[in-house]
Symmetry: C2
Subunit: 233 residues, 2 copies
């Protein structure tokens, strides 16, 4: 019955080895976005594994938003290192929401946290607000809830961008992405978007004036207006 404390063997699959090798080359050679990886067949031969294993590793890297594969021939073909964490995060959130291992409430609370933080930092940094203003006009011109949400998303993502933190901006984009349908329903339920517009103007002006506290407060109240059912207390 006693295995003597052994048994930590934890078999490691071939494609995981390939992954580790590629990651090692990335960090050791200092590769960055734009650099090309060897072709699949070449990599398979170099590492002494089959092309299938290399392909599975590529699929993982692609899922994580680290490489992008192009067919054909030439400088742009093959596996190129990229930097797209957004879609990876979106897929992750969407699937886990579908699995019911996350609830919308948790997503919205997270968004609340991020937006307050981002608005405050955007204000302190006196960030450029032209993207915010553009999104605002887009909302004014919107002819459907879908279109409105589209520009609303742009507005809030622009705040995250303006905070200067790319990780937070990426999380923000994927949060919005995974709750798009929910947002559209919320806008339709709401009917009148004039309150939201006033909120947006208040947020924009607070950021422009560099008033971090007011910007955070404005964001908080805005979310309470947009999702009244979740902020009943």
């Amino acid at each position: 019955m006693d295995d003597g404390g052994w048994r930590p063997v934890k078999r490691t699959r071939t494609f995981e080895d390939v992954l580790a090798q590629i990651e090692r080359r990335i960090t050791e050679d200092g590769l960055t976005a734009g650099d090309r990886l060897p072709a699949e067949r070449q990599l398979a031969e170099q590492l002494g594994v089959s092309r299938s294993s290399v392909r599975e590793a590529m699929r993982v890297l692609e899922t994580l938003g680290v490489v992008s594969s192009q067919v054909g021939r030439g400088p742009d073909a093959g596996a190129v290192l990229t930097s797209r964490p957004d879609s990876a995060l979106s897929d992750l959130l969407r699937l886990h929401l579908g699995l019911a291992s996350l609830e919308m409430r948790e997503v919205i609370d997270t968004r609340h946290m991020i937006e307050q933080w981002a608005a405050g930092h955007a204000a302190s940094a006196q960030a450029d607000t032209s993207a915010l203003a553009a999104a605002l006009s887009g909302m004014d011109a919107a002819k459907s809830a879908e279109e409105f949400v589209e520009h609303d998303t742009a507005f809030h993502c622009a705040i995250a961008d303006a905070s200067g933190n790319r990780l937070i901006a990426a999380i923000m984009r994927s949060l919005r992405d995974s709750m798009r349908r929910y947002s559209v329903e919320a806008v339709q339920r709401l009917g009148d978007t004039s309150i939201l517009r006033a909120d947006h103007v208040r947020i924009l002006e607070a950021i422009e004036r560099g008033e971090a506290g007011e910007a955070a407060r404005a964001v908080s109240e805005h979310l309470a207006h947009a999702y009244p059912s979740l902020f009943g207390h």
Copy 2:
């Protein structure tokens, strides 16, 4: 030269079709963590594709922390739906940090934001603090910087858990995971950890007394102590 506005062909790869089918079955059949997917060969036959394509789809799902594959036979074998967003997020952060498409500063700022939020909510919720206390004793007994960081991570993740938001807790865990090496170096540079201990006690007591504002403040000052070089302003 004019293609008449066409060209939206966007070839879709077979494994992406498989992914869509599986995701559809998850949402339509209401599958959740613990349920089993059909075997690879079976799935390939059902969908009329090769096993390779099914496997690539599986690899994506596994990367996103949605399925876990076990070899062998029996009820536990095969592809089982799981809910492990943590490792997926960790891999994502680690690789993008390696690609220099994210900077440590951004990770730590994000952590700062999350910890303040989580500490405040844990305090308001009068959450159970036994895990926090356990981690605290672990730090006291630690004999190396690595061991100290191990329990320190447990302490801070326990705060995130206590906030009750699984998404935020998952993000917290992956943040800590991806910056483990950095944290160890920071502790070694610091040498004396008594200041950190005092901070931890202050955080713990604030949460126990339900003082959200004090908990958030304590977390903020704690991070300034732990990473003085990043909070010089």
